[in-house]
């Protein structure tokens, strides 16, 4: 799940602490960046100092040549500084690019954990915002620090007494800004949240205009959205009011030193400060420090809060799996066992599964039926260890289902089959860590009825393009993969719903015939239930277990689901939410192919007999279809 080593202690995402750690790990890059920034600051230093020297030693002394020479020196400093500026971009990249990489890794890890589709937008959009704002922050903060240092060193060289006039207001202004930074970031966050809420609401309304009109809900919908629009406007007002404080901080830090310098000028001139030094000091204050402060306060306020918001969203980590206590399979334990299992989606929600007891011996074949959305897939997810029940225990071959050790013992194939860009062979061997000979792969494909598909795709070495496969073909690939997996327990969660009934029947029988294999089928069509040795009927939180014949007598719902039990019953057991081609089709194979007449299906008897009894009678007519 997580790209980081298992042993690492779980960390709560604190952007500040992680940021410091991030920079510390890249201290070399930071040092290189600082070096080039010094070169960049050479220009800042030159603006004032060269001007002062050019005036004092040159133009004011009536000697134009030294004056021009000092200015030429400043021009060289400008060029050096500009080169430094160019290199600081590379230095910033050495920080921003690794940040992007780390965020991408984290987004991918989390997406694979929770399957959230929004991850794609996070990956392409929010990560880029984080990268750009982070780079912007690095640039602004760095520029200010080195500009300030360059200017202060220059002032000190011109006349150390100048620092006494400049430093106190500068520090006071920066302190004022620092104090207001946190509330400012808070306002900025509130504004961004309000802005997103508006965009989302407008998106919903524009996509649902038909529903709004049909419900005659124009006025309340307009009122609701207008309230969000007004809330965003108020958030923007609040943000704008805080900008006043920023201007005050800027006035204290940047403008006050100029006034102080002018007020003190007669005394400074009396105490040996030259005319050139005074002009140079004014140049430092008005042309280096003031613009630098302006950029810092604007950049930190806007970029910093944006970065904070985006990082907070991106850095939420997936919960780590439980510590890897590797239990060994318990001999003699049932293949799948549920003891008093209760699961609900929240403390206020009705349970989806309520105190369910179920034990499947090795080699058994269970079908789970019920109306769509009743919780069949939740049950499969509980057995697959993807969900944790609030009460009770789920175990696979005696190992708790959430345990790492249980992973190798069961394989879940969901309705939405997974295929990836790669070769056909890579896709089929995906669940095997050992090398699998081609012969075995081809035999597996033949067994579940995908041999023809493999031929069509061009064999195991052929590249597979997911977009070119139909939903049914994707399911066939996933079925072969599961068949090849070493796991003794196979969970098919409507895994063949896009196949035609004959192909579905063939695949199910192949799985049931796996030596020692236990099969749980979340049934999509009535045929799946008829083929299974035992059937679990889910009806709300109530469940009933029995054979097909028993349930036909006992469960009204089961009779409904089986479409009155007749061979022509055309009620699908369960349909997925997507449109299906065979939505209402009768299973043409199961009825006539099964022992007994079409109307009254004879149960297979005990669960254990199913693999031998279930496979034979259906084999004949199936091949012919």
């Amino acid at each position: 799940m997580d790209p980081k080593p298992q042993g690492e202690a779980p960390s709560s995402p604190s952007p500040a602490r992680e940021g410091v750690r991030f920079l510390w790990r890249r201290r070399r890059a930071v040092a290189v960046l600082a070096g080039w920034s010094v070169a960049e600051a050479a220009y800042t230093f030159a603006t004032g100092y060269a001007l002062a020297r050019a005036l004092d030693a040159g133009f004011l002394a009536g000697k134009p040549v030294p004056g021009l020479a000092w200015l030429a020196g400043a021009a060289v400093a400008v060029l050096v500084g500009a080169y430094g500026t160019g290199r600081t971009y590379r230095g910033t990249a050495a920080l921003a690019e690794p940040l992007r990489d780390a965020l991408v890794r984290r987004v991918v890890a989390r997406a694979l954990h929770d399957g959230d589709r929004a991850a794609v937008s996070r990956l392409t959009h929010q990560v880029e915002i984080a990268r750009d704002t982070f780079a912007g922050l690095v640039m602004v903060a760095r520029t200010f620090v080195f500009t300030a240092v360059g200017a202060l060193v220059g002032l000190c060289l011109l006349a150390p007494v100048l620092l006494v006039l400049v430093l106190p207001p500068l520090l006071a202004g920066l302190a004022l800004f620092a104090v207001t930074l946190r509330p400012l970031v808070g306002r900025q966050e509130a504004f961004l949240d309000a802005d997103e809420a508006v965009a989302k609401s407008l998106g919903d309304v524009c996509a649902g205009l038909r529903d709004v009109a049909a419900a005659g809900a124009e006025d309340p919908v307009h009122a609701d959205t207008a309230a969000l629009v007004d809330a965003e406007r108020d958030a923007a007002y609040a943000l704008a009011r805080w900008s006043v404080v920023r201007v005050a901080a800027l006035a204290v830090a940047g403008r006050l030193p100029v006034v102080l310098l002018l007020v003190a000028a007669p005394r400074l001139l009396d105490h040996g400060v030259s005319a050139g030094a005074l002009a140079g000091a004014l140049a430092y204050l008005t042309q280096s420090l003031l613009p630098g402060l302006q950029n810092l306060m604007h950049g930190l306020g806007a970029n910093g809060s944006r970065l904070a918001v985006v990082l907070r969203r991106l850095m939420a980590e997936p919960p780590r799996p439980a510590p890897g206590l590797q239990h060994a399979a318990v001999p003699g334990a049932p293949a799948v066992a549920l003891r008093g299992v209760t699961f609900a989606h929240g403390p206020h929600a009705d349970p989806v599964v309520d105190r369910l007891h179920l034990a499947l011996p090795h080699g058994s074949h269970l079908a789970v039926v019920g109306l769509s959305g009743i919780g069949k897939s939740t049950l499969a997810a509980l057995v697959a260890g993807m969900l944790e029940p609030q009460q009770g225990e789920v175990s696979v071959c005696g190992i708790p289902a959430r345990d790492q050790g249980a992973r190798a013992l069961r394989v879940l194939i969901p309705q939405e089959a997974y295929v990836f860009s790669g070769t056909v062979g890579e896709n089929l061997r995906h669940l095997r860590t050992d090398p699998v000979p081609d012969r075995e792969v081809l035999a597996a494909a033949e067994a579940v009825g995908a041999g023809e598909l493999l031929d069509r795709l061009g064999g195991l070495a052929a590249p597979l393009v997911p977009a070119e496969l139909s939903a049914g073909e994707r399911q066939q690939i996933a079925l072969v993969r599961a068949y090849l997996s070493p796991a003794p327990v196979v969970l098919l969660d409507e895994a063949a719903c896009h196949l035609d009934p004959a192909a579905e029947a063939r695949a199910e029988r192949a799985f049931a015939a796996r030596p020692g294999g236990t099969l749980v089928v979340i049934a999509h069509r009535a045929g799946s239930a008829r083929r299974a040795g035992r059937v679990l009927v889910m009806d709300g939180a109530r469940t009933t277990v029995g054979t097909h014949t028993e349930l036909l007598q006992r469960s009204a719902l089961y009779r409904d689901l089986m479409g009155d039990g007749g061979p022509r019953g055309d009620a699908a057991v369960s349909q997925p939410s997507r449109p299906l081609r065979y939505a209402d089709r009768v299973d043409p194979v199961a009825g006539p192919g099964l022992p007994g007449d079409g109307g009254h299906v004879i149960a297979y008897g005990s669960v254990r007999q199913v693999q031998t009894a279930g496979d034979l009678p259906d084999g004949g007519p199936l091949r012919g279809k």
């Binding site: 500026t85 991850a119 965009a199 809900a217 919908v221 969901p414 997974y418 349909q575 939410s577």
Partner: protein
């Protein structure tokens, strides 16, 4: 023609900008004044500062102290102006944006679903979110336009006033500035393209894995999958570094230009100082004016922003140019909910999907509309409840043309459910109760129960208060919420189900239709667009739509005998003669004249609605087909062949009326 269209669009946009500016008029005015004052102060300061320095250097303390005070004022005044400017720019943009969004949103809602036929929903959102925000900045940009042009021009003029040679030096050096600034855009595009391609690759791999996220989670292969997805990352990083390098190069160019210009001006000023033509203060002022004058490069950007805002305003004006939906003054008289379409034509995307269609759905009956063309059946569903107006012909409910009804009458008497309902309204309860007024207490849960939605809603984390955005709903569950929304409107006479049960399993669909038909209160007329045989089989009558006209009307069992009928379904092979589930029976079944097994049909005469249906009713021969469970239609539907809206002829039962 195109030019005139463009002009009119921009004209509308300009009017919109003017309206928005007027809405924040006072603030815009103050903003304009402060920005002009701020620029004035910024232009005065270097000259005053220079003169002050000269006075200080000349030891004229008395005179100098007055100038120092002036300097302090000129330094502090911009701080005040800046503060006002920040406050007003922010609030002006926010106020104007909010005003624009509310205005355009109100208009979009008034236009109704037709707006999305003209603009794709995503496009509408972009206009409402992005373009409105852009136009919102227009008043502020307008107000500060004078100031932003005045600063650099004033800087050049001030250089000339200090010494004409300074202006000459600046203007000679400036062209280099423009040439170098232009280099940036050309260099950066090609690495950006490579970067975006790799990013797309990465996103594509992630999407692939998200499709199989359950498989991956169950197999615990997450780390391997992450490695596979992240394969393009090193390449992305390489391209990223390349982008920064290119940016760094152009930044270095721009970083050099302005200071070099400034040094050129300083060198000339220094020479003039040595000649005694200028003072130290003048040199200082010249250095500052050179920086101000270099701001001329930014003027283009400022003007560009205004041009963009104008274009964005044009795009908003396009929305406002769509005429809003008009409603009539009439209320609905008492009636049984008979729906009549007369000579109705609908054109979608330039194609005629309904072509002079005539259909009567008698009050209280259920009629399924089937047809291969989704466009035709959906258009019919839209017209039946006036989500769209027909391009020709009339749709009437209980004798009143829909377009004569008030909006309230129309929406309170016709309810809709769709295949993919938009789950507006915030929470689950909100989306079920979506309507002009909050529903009566208890209505929501009762409607949810009727739509078989109560069970799964109670399993959601916050039950009925669960936000729709966070509720993990399947397509079938969303459909049931949409159905519940329709059921939560007890006053409706007509209910239109546009493929609204397509994602439900057969048993659930059966339960819902059963509840719908046996609900207490006055019987409701149902128009059901169906793509599944079971749905069609449960209706009293089926209207078979082909090539924009009614091909035949009859029970599902009868129509099944016609060639081509089965192909109208998404599940043609399964189009058997009837469902195996017990059909819904109405509570009012006993009222049916002739009993449940008598098939009667209405006669039509001269286009009048079949008020006296059955008066002329002849007994139909028993047809074997749907079996003992076939739904007994109690009233028949009459269809008109498109021979003309006023001389319709009857469709013989069981035969196709060639359209």
């Amino acid at each position: 023609m195109a030019a005139r269209h463009r002009r009119s669009r921009l004209g509308g946009g300009d009017r919109l900008v003017a309206d928005a500016t007027r809405h924040v008029g006072a603030r815009t005015l103050v903003l304009g004044l402060t920005s002009v004052a701020g620029t004035g102060a910024a232009l005065l300061l270097p000259a005053v500062l220079g003169h002050t320095v000269d006075l200080l250097l000349a030891r004229q303390s008395g005179e100098a102290s007055r100038w120092v005070v002036l300097c302090a004022l000129l330094l502090c005044a911009p701080a005040v102006f800046d503060a006002l400017d920040g406050l007003l720019t922010g609030t002006t943009a926010a106020g104007a944006t909010a005003w624009l969004r509310n205005r355009v949103l109100g208009h979009v809602l008034a236009v109704g679903p037709r707006a999305t036929a003209r603009f794709a929903p995503g496009d509408l959102v972009t206009r409402l979110v992005g373009n409105a925000a852009y136009v919102g900045t227009a008043p502020g940009s307008l107000a500060s336009a004078v100031a932003s042009v005045a600063a650099p021009l004033g800087g050049i003029a001030a250089l000339g006033l200090v010494d004409p040679w300074l202006a000459v030096a600046f203007l000679a050096g400036a062209p280099a500035l423009f040439l170098l600034l232009r280099a940036f855009t050309r260099a950066s595009t090609d690495c950006l393209i490579a970067y975006q391609r790799l990013q797309g690759d990465l996103a594509g791999r992630l999407v692939e894995a998200l499709d199989g996220v359950r498989t991956i989670a169950a197999a615990g292969t997450g780390r391997r999958e992450a490695d596979r997805i992240l394969q393009p990352l090193p390449g992305l990083s390489r391209e990223g570094h390349r982008m920064w390098r290119v940016q760094g190069r152009s930044a270095a160019q721009t970083a050099a230009v302005v200071p070099l210009l400034q040094i050129v001006v300083l060198a000339v000023a220094g020479l003039r100082l040595a000649q005694g033509a200028l003072s130290v203060g003048d040199v200082l002022a010249a250095s500052r004016y050179a920086v101000l004058a270099a701001g001329i490069g930014a003027i283009v950007g400022r003007l560009n922003a205004l041009v963009h805002a104008r274009t964005a305003a044009g795009r908003l004006a396009e929305i406002l140019a769509e005429p809003p939906a008009r409603y009539g003054p009439r209320e609905l008289p008492a009636g049984d909910g008979t729906l009549r379409l007369r000579g109705v034509t609908a054109i979608r995307g330039g194609r005629t999907v309904l072509d002079g269609l005539d259909l009567v759905v008698p009050g209280g009956t259920t009629v399924a509309v089937v047809g291969r063309s989704d466009a035709g059946t959906s258009a019919l569903a839209e017209l039946a409840g006036r989500l769209a107006d027909p391009d020709a012909g009339v749709v009437e409910l209980d004798g009143v043309p829909l377009r004569d009804l008030t909006r309230t009458a129309l929406r309170s008497h016709i309810a809709y459910a769709f295949a993919r309902p938009a789950l507006l309204g915030g929470t689950i309860a909100g989306t079920i109760g979506l309507g002009p007024h909050p529903p009566a207490p208890g209505t929501v849960t009762a409607a949810a129960r009727a739509a078989c939605a109560d069970t799964f809603v109670r399993r959601l984390p916050e039950r009925y208060d669960t936000p729709c955005a966070t509720a993990p709903l399947s397509g079938g569950e969303a459909q049931r919420l949409g159905l519940a929304r329709a059921f939560a409107r007890p006053g409706s006479r007509l209910i239109v189900l546009d493929d609204a049960t397509s994602s439900l399993d057969a048993v659930t669909e059966h339960r819902i239709t059963h509840t719908l038909l046996t609900a207490a209160g006055p019987a409701r007329t149902c128009l059901v667009v169906a793509h599944r045989t079971t749905t069609a089989a449960r209706a009293d009558q089926v209207a078979w739509l082909e090539d924009g006209r009614i091909r035949a009307v009859g029970t599902h069992a009868h129509l099944c005998e016609l060639p081509g009928y089965c192909a109208a379904f998404a599940d043609p092979e399964g189009a058997g003669p009837g469902p195996s589930l017990p059909p819904p029976r109405r509570a009012t079944e006993a009222d049916t004249p002739g009993g449940p097994h008598r098939r009667q049909r209405a006669s039509r005469d001269g286009g009048e609605p079949p008020t006296a249906w059955g008066a002329e009713g002849r007994q139909e021969p028993e047809v074997s087909g749907p079996g003992p469970f076939s739904p007994p239609p109690r009233r028949a539907t009459t269809a008109h062949a498109p021979g003309g809206p006023h001389r319709p002829h009857q469709v013989p039962r069981g035969e196709g009326a060639e359209g």
